[in-house]
Amino acid sequence: MRLLRKGIFMLCGVALACHRRPPPAPPAQAGSTVLRDARVHQAAPSRVNGEWTKVAGDDQNTRYSPLAQIDAGNVARLDVAWSFKTGIERGHEAAPLVVGSMLYIVTPFPNRVHAFDLTHPGAPPRWTYQPPNEPRAQGVACCDVVNRGAAYDEGRVFFNTLDDHTIALDAATGKELWNTKLGDVNRGETMTMAPLVVQGRVLVGNSGGELGVRGWLTALDAATGAIVWRAYSTGPDEDVLIGSEFQPFYPQDRGKDLGATSWPPERWKLGGGTVWGFVSYDPELDLIFYGTGNPGPWNGEQRTGANKWTSGIFARRPETGHAVWFYQYSPHDVFDYDGVNESVLVDVDTAAGLRRLLFHADRNGYLYVLDRATGEVLSATAFGHITTSHGVDTKTGLIAYVPEKEPHVGATVHDICPASPGAKDWQPMAWSPKTHLLYIPHNNLCQDEEGMEANYVAGTPYVGAAVKMRAGPGGKRGEFAAWDPLAAKQVWHIEEEFPVWSGALATASNLVFYGTMDGRFKAVDAQSGKLLWQHQLDSGVIGQPVAFRAPDGKEYVAVLSGVGGWAGVIVPAKLDASDPTGALGFLNAMRDLPSRTKAGGTLYVFGLP
C-alpha cells in the first residue's frame, strides 16, 4: 500500500497540475547588477553616548556598538565584572538594555524585570517588578517560555508577558504605569517578542503560529497603553490595514482581500502569520519593517493557496499601521519557514544615487537584499544548505520550490534542508559599518517529516507534522558566518557543534561577540573570524550580547546565559530524547546537549580589569 501510494504521488508529480508550482528558476544569482557597483553609504553615527537603549542597539537593527575600548589587543584580559542570577532556569533570549546609569533585563516567564544601578560597584539591583500572570500560559508556549527583551522610551520601560500583556514601568522606580491585555492564552496566544517604540507608539506582536493563532502587530500609545491600531497578518484587507497606500512590488501581492482569498474558506482565521521577531524603523521613509510567521497548520494540504500574508515582510506607516508594501519570502510555506527574522537597514551609494536596502537572512536559507522603499528583491543568495527550493527569481520575486520535498499526509519525506527552524531562526545577526559585513549566527539542520492531519483544539498545538531533525551536511549543527551582502558571498565562517542560537554583537574595534549552546561566550576578529577570547558560562548562551559604557567611563559587554528556547528546551524541561519527534522534532538533533550544559539563568557583565 505504501509503495502504491508512493507511485501515485510520483505520477501526481508528473501531472504537475497537483502542485501549481512555478517552473524552477535559475540558481540564485550572486548579487544583482544594481548591487555590483554599490558602496555602503557612510552615515553619521547614530549613537555616541555608549548606551544600549533598544534590543538591537538602534532602529536599523545593526547590533553594532560604536565603543572600541575593548579591542583585539586587550580582549584576552576580559573577565566577569559582575553577575546576577535570575533564579529562573529557562531559556534566556533577551538583550539587556542600558539607559543612563541603569541596566534593565526581562526574564523568561514569569517575566520579571530587574533594574541595576551602574553607578555603584557590583551594580546593585535598584528595583524588581513581578507582573501578575497566568501560569497556564506556559502550556501554550511553543518553544520554551522565552522573552526577547524590553524597550525603553522617555523614562518608561516596556515589555511583553507570556500571557499577552504589554506593560509600561517607570524606568526610575519600577512602578507600573499601565498594563494592557492584548491576547488570550486559552486560544494559544502568547507574547515573546521585544517591543520597538516609534513616534510614541509601542509596537508589539503575538506568538503562537503552532497553535492556530492569527498573527498581528499592534501599536499602543506609549503614554496610556491604549491600542492605537492593530494589523492582522491574515484576513480581509480591512483587518490587515491594506488600503490605498498599499503598493507591493510584485503582481502576486496585488488584489483585493488576498489575506482571505489565498486560503480555503475561513482557514485564515487559524492561519498563523504571528509577529514575534524584531521590528526595524526607517525615520526618513517613515516605514516600519517586520516579518510574519509561518502559516498554520504546518500541514499545507489543509490550506491550499499562497496563504497571505504569512512568511513574508510588511512595510507599514508607524502612525496608522497602513501597509505600504509586502513581500512573501515563502508563499504557501509547508516547512515552518517563518518570515520573522530581523531586517537590517543599510543605505548604499550607486551610480543612480542613494539606495535604501534591507538585509534579511530567512529561515528558507536565502540571504535577501531588498530595496526597502519598494519591496523589490535585489538578490537572494543561499547562505545555508537548501534542498527545499532551487532558488529565488528576482524578476518575479518567486521562490522555486522542489515539489518532491513537500510533506504529505501518510508519506515520509527525507532530507528536508533547512529543517523547520530554518538556516537561521530568530537569533539576530549584526552588521558592522566598518567591515561592511553581516555576522550571522545560524543553524545547519535537516529533517525528515511525515504530514499528519491537524485537528484544531483551541489552546493546543495545530501543526500536523511528525518531524525528526539532525545535523546537515558536514555534521556540525551550527555555524557563525561573516557575510558580504553586496557581493553576496560568505567571507569566513566558524563551525559550531550546536545551532548558534544566540544573537551577535559587532563593535567599533572590529570585535564580534556571540555565544554557544554549550555555554561558551566568544569574541572573534571581525575581519578574519579568528577566536580572540572565550569564557565558559554556567549555562548555554541563547541571549543577545550588548556593549555599553558605564558611568565609570569603561566599556562593558553584557549577555544572559540560560539554555533553552526551541533548540535547547530539552535541558530545562528535561525532555526525553528517546522520542525523536519531541519538541516538534528538535529533540532528535539535541540529544547530547544535556551532557554538555545545564539549565541556568545568569546576567554576565564583562569588563577589562
Binding site: 497537483c18 499526509v409 484544531y456 493546543t460 498545538p461
Partner: protein, 174 residues
C-alpha cells in the same frame, strides 16, 4: 502516436488525475473549533480501572486518541515532551497512579495542562490513561500498543517503544 501508446497515455493520465484527487484532500466541511465528542458506546462506568489499563484494545484506542485530542502536540507522539513535560520518564509532577493521571486529564493542571473533562468522555480518558502508562513501560507487555502512529523515518527501532526500566526512586529526576 499508435493506438496502443495513446491508450497507455490515456490510462496514465486517468490514473494521474485520480491520483491528484486522491492526494488532494478535501476539507469542504467547516473545521470544528472544539474537539468533537466521538459517538461510541461507553463501557459501564463501574468498570474497574484494571479493565482499561490491562486491556490491549484500550491502550490502542488511547494511542489513537492521544493524537486526536492533540495530547501528542504537547507531549510528542511517543511522549518525549516539548511544550508539555515528557511522559516516558519516571517523573510524575502530579502523581503517576492511574487515578492521578485521570484527574490530571479531567481537571487540567495550573502550569499549562488544559482540562479535558468537558470535552472528552470519561471512558476515553481512561483509555488515554492506559496509553500514558504504556509510554513509560508500566503496562504488561502483551497489552502494549503496536506500531505507533508516528513516522518510521527509515529507522523503525527509534520509534518502537524502547523498554526503559522504571527506577525505584520515583519522583526524583537527575
Amino acid at each position: 502516436m499508435t493506438g496502443r501508446s495513446s491508450l497507455l497515455a490515456g490510462l496514465a493520465l486517468a490514473l494521474a488525475l485520480t491520483a491528484c484527487r486522491r492526494e488532494e484532500r478535501r476539507f469542504s466541511e467547516p473545521q470544528v473549533l472544539v474537539a468533537r465528542r466521538e459517538r461510541a458506546v461507553a463501557p459501564p462506568s463501574s468498570e474497574p480501572v484494571a479493565a482499561f489499563v490491562d486491556n490491549a484494545w484500550s491502550v490502542s484506542e488511547g494511542q489513537r486518541l492521544f493524537g486526536w485530542y492533540n495530547c501528542a502536540g504537547c507531549h510528542s507522539l511517543a511522549g518525549g515532551g516539548g511544550m508539555g513535560p515528557p511522559l516516558r520518564d519516571a517523573t510524575w509532577i502530579y502523581g503517576g497512579s492511574p487515578e492521578e493521571i485521570h484527574r490530571t486529564i479531567v481537571e487540567g493542571r495550573p502550569n499549562g495542562m488544559p482540562e479535558f473533562g468537558s470535552r472528552v468522555p470519561d471512558y476515553q480518558i481512561w483509555q488515554l490513561v492506559a496509553y500514558v502508562l504504556s509510554l513509560s513501560g508500566r503496562l504488561r507487555q502483551d497489552v502494549e500498543p503496536g506500531r505507533p502512529e508516528a513516522i518510521a523515518l527509515g529507522q523503525p527501532p527509534a520509534m518502537t517503544y524502547e523498554k526503559k526500566p522504571v527506577p525505584a526512586n520515583k519522583g526524583t529526576h537527575p
